[in-house]
């Protein structure tokens, strides 16, 4: 459905997207996972044909975006990170306006607004001004505005930022429904739980580069052990970590006073002994199954929410 090849974009001296390539299959939910500033939104802006790339190509349903931006814009729906709605208009009038921009015939547009409002569960509030909505409700209308022209692909840029768990769940259900109806979805987030719940395939992006991509199972294969132990110390210097690395044969990732060791619970006592010998004061220990957070940590040495 979508092919991104060797895409790059710089803003003056900053390379926001650095030679990334990936393919998105028809009907899948593809996640772009990375911390804030990783290059997710810049990638999505280029895929939405509102930002020109410096290098590389994007193909959508057989068409290259460059030179076919109008056709591509009809294929895609974009849910921007910001609540891009007119606060002083009702939900219905907002949707009517956004739908009109795509040239949908009046009667058909009204039917589509009705169906979409039903899908997102806000039909009964359609005449209320957006400014009277809660954050979660605004997010849902933000999604609805991207669906009216019935796009084949939906780009969602961190669509759950700053909302309550109930609204988040509602949005997940909407996404799953749309996907079941055959819509391809590209989902960017820095919440690994969201990607784990929704996405068929994931590209992990950091500092403008894709550092890993595949299904969740494939990504988990990148980490040798299936468990990790997180230690929190009162103080942990880089030399402490080097000393630990000399004495323990595991992959270790430091984040301030935290240390994640890719190891199993069986090795716990051995690690604690070494820490005691090095006079490191352990404050807390957590045992985790390997998840995307751990994969990101092991690949970048950073936490997703850094």
């Amino acid at each position: 459905m979508i092919q991104v090849q060797n895409l790059s974009k710089s803003f003056q001296a900053i390379k926001a997207v650095d030679d990334i390539s990936f393919t998105i299959k028809k009907g899948e939910i593809f996640g772009l996972l990375g911390p804030n500033g990783a290059g997710k939104s810049t990638t999505l802006n280029m895929m939405s044909a509102i930002l020109k790339s410096d290098e590389g190509t994007i193909q959508m349903d057989g068409n290259t975006i460059k030179g076919h931006s109008k056709e591509c814009k009809h294929l895609i729906g974009v849910v921007p990170q910001e609540i891009s709605l007119y606060e002083d208009l009702s939900a219905y009038k907002n949707l009517l306006f956004w739908g009109n921009l795509y040239g949908i015939p009046s009667k058909e547009l009204k039917d589509r607004i009705h169906t979409t409002l039903e899908l997102i569960g806000l039909l009964d509030r359609k005449n209320d001004l957006i400014k009277t909505y809660s954050g979660g409700m605004k997010r849902r209308i933000n999604i609805a505005a991207a669906l009216l022209h019935q796009p084949k692909v939906l780009f969602m840029d961190e669509p759950t930022v700053g909302i309550d768990p109930q609204s988040r769940n509602h949005i997940f259900e909407v996404i799953e429904t749309l996907n079941k109806q055959g819509m391809t979805i590209v989902y960017t987030t820095h919440y690994m739980e969201e990607v784990e719940r929704l996405c068929d395939r994931i590209a992990i992006i950091d500092s403008g580069k894709i550092i890993a991509q595949g299904t969740q199972a494939q990504l988990k294969e990148l980490v040798p052990t299936k468990e990790s132990i997180q230690f929190e110390f009162s103080f942990l210097s880089e030399s402490n970590v080097n000393q630990l690395r000399e004495r323990l044969p595991y992959i270790m990732t430091q984040n301030k006073s935290k240390l994640i060791v890719q190891s199993t619970v069986k090795e716990l006592s051995k690690i604690i002994t070494v820490c005691n010998e090095l006079q490191l004061n352990i404050k807390d220990i957590q045992l985790n199954k390997v998840n995307l957070e751990a994969i990101f940590l092991s690949l970048t040495g950073k936490q997703l929410r850094d």
């Binding site: 939405s48 044909a49 509102i50 109008k70 814009k73 009809h74 895609i76 974009v78 921007p80 990170q81 910001e82 609540i83 891009s84 709605l85 007119y86 606060e87 956004w98 921009l101 795509y102 040239g103 505005a145």
Partner: protein, 371 residues
């Protein structure tokens, strides 16, 4: 505690460069402008540009020619020879402040010390300039005709070419309504243009760009909104002036409608131009305040153009206010036919087209690329 809060407030205040400009630079510019207009500052610095007075010599004698040459040596007046019909026409159109008509028998009247057959026909809309011209010419006549002490008074007949009537507005009213209407319009339009920046900050501009909409369509739609509001605002203001002060708006309604359309187009394009040069609402507020007040002061919205020194009158032509106000004078005071007002309307349209073209380029650079 008070000192800590005060220190923080001052630090924040002085970190806002636009705020500093409005606080310090704008008053300095305004003081300078008003000082030139009212304080005679320009005269100290350099000789003022002489006032152009047309002269029609019907006497065509050596005496009349010599007098014209001598009067021309006055630094503040420049006598321009002209045919009577042309001279009166130019004064009626507001091109020149007055025409000095030297009638037949002028040299004869000097010889017999009779009343001089001279007349100064003037544009009453330029009252202040006219008073200067009148005084200077009277003094010049007395001095050059050698009647300094002999005759205490040289009678220089004055006639306004455009008379006030029930169907004609007082020039002061035209100045007040026209000048204020355009200045206030500029403020309203800058605010409407600012809506584009609000859309950028709210993210709706990005969504518009994501939709199959051309960037130019967004700009033109915003300009169209500004233009409709401009037309409504000017219409309401002129209706108010008609009801409250009796401004005869139906005297030449077709010219008035076309002039309102031209002003609205020029002002709307100016609003869009302002918005296209900045990146944030704060920048717009600072910049629009400075530019609008400056343009209104130079263009005659605050002080009548005729009261300004010559060099300021020369630069007034860069402002929308100037052409708009002059257009209103042409309609309500000079009562010119539309054909004579068309050049001013054309200039307003040219300003509008020029600013729209520049805005298109700047809009792409400053607004879209960072939406």
């Amino acid at each position: 505690m008070i000192f800590t809060i005060l220190k923080k407030d001052l630090r924040l205040y002085f970190s806002d460069k636009k705020g500093i400009l409005v606080t310090f630079l704008l008053p300095i510019i305004m003081i300078t402008l008003f000082a030139f207009a009212f304080g005679g500052v320009a005269k100290k610095k350099s000789a003022p540009k002489p006032l152009g007075v047309l002269v029609v010599d019907k006497d065509t004698t050596v005496t009349s020619q010599e007098l014209i040459a001598k009067l021309n040596s006055l630094p503040t007046i420049r006598l321009i020879p002209s045919e009577e019909e042309n001279a009166l026409n130019l004064v009626r159109k507001g091109e020149n402040v007055a025409a000095l008509i030297i009638e037949n028998g002028f040299s004869e009247a000097i010889k017999i010390e009779a009343d001089l057959p001279v007349e100064l026909k003037y544009d009453a809309a330029r009252d202040l300039q006219m008073r200067i011209v009148h005084t200077l010419l009277k003094e010049g006549f007395k001095y050059h005709l050698g009647k300094g002490d002999a005759i205490s008074e040289v009678k220089l007949k004055t006639t306004s070419l455009i008379k006030e009537s029930f169907t004609k507005a007082h020039p002061g009213l035209v100045q007040a309504v026209g000048g204020t209407a355009i200045m206030m319009l500029l403020f309203s339009i800058a605010a409407i243009g600012g809506g584009l920046l609000d859309e950028k900050e709210a993210g709706t501009l990005k969504r518009l760009l994501i939709a199959p909409v051309k960037p130019l369509d967004i700009l033109l739609a915003k300009m169209g909104t500004a233009m409709i509001v401009s037309i409504l605002q000017l219409t309401v203001m002129f209706i108010f002036a008609w009801v409250a002060f009796g401004l005869p708006i139906f005297m030449d309604i077709s010219s008035l409608i076309i002039l309102i359309l031209c002003i609205s187009f020029a002002v709307s394009s100016f609003g869009v131009f302002l918005v296209s040069t900045v990146k944030t609402r704060q920048q717009l507020q600072g910049m629009s305040t400075i530019i609008i007040i400056l343009m209104s002061a130079i263009g005659g919205s605050m002080i009548p153009i005729s009261m300004m020194p010559a060099f300021m009158q020369d630069i007034a032509i860069i402002s929308v206010n100037y052409w708009g106000i002059e257009g209103f004078f042409d309609i309500f005071w000079r009562q010119l036919p539309m054909i004579d007002i068309l050049p001013k309307m054309g200039i307003l349209l040219a300003i509008g087209i020029g600013m729209t073209l520049v805005s298109t380029v700047l809009f792409k650079k400053n607004i879209i690329e960072i939406a």
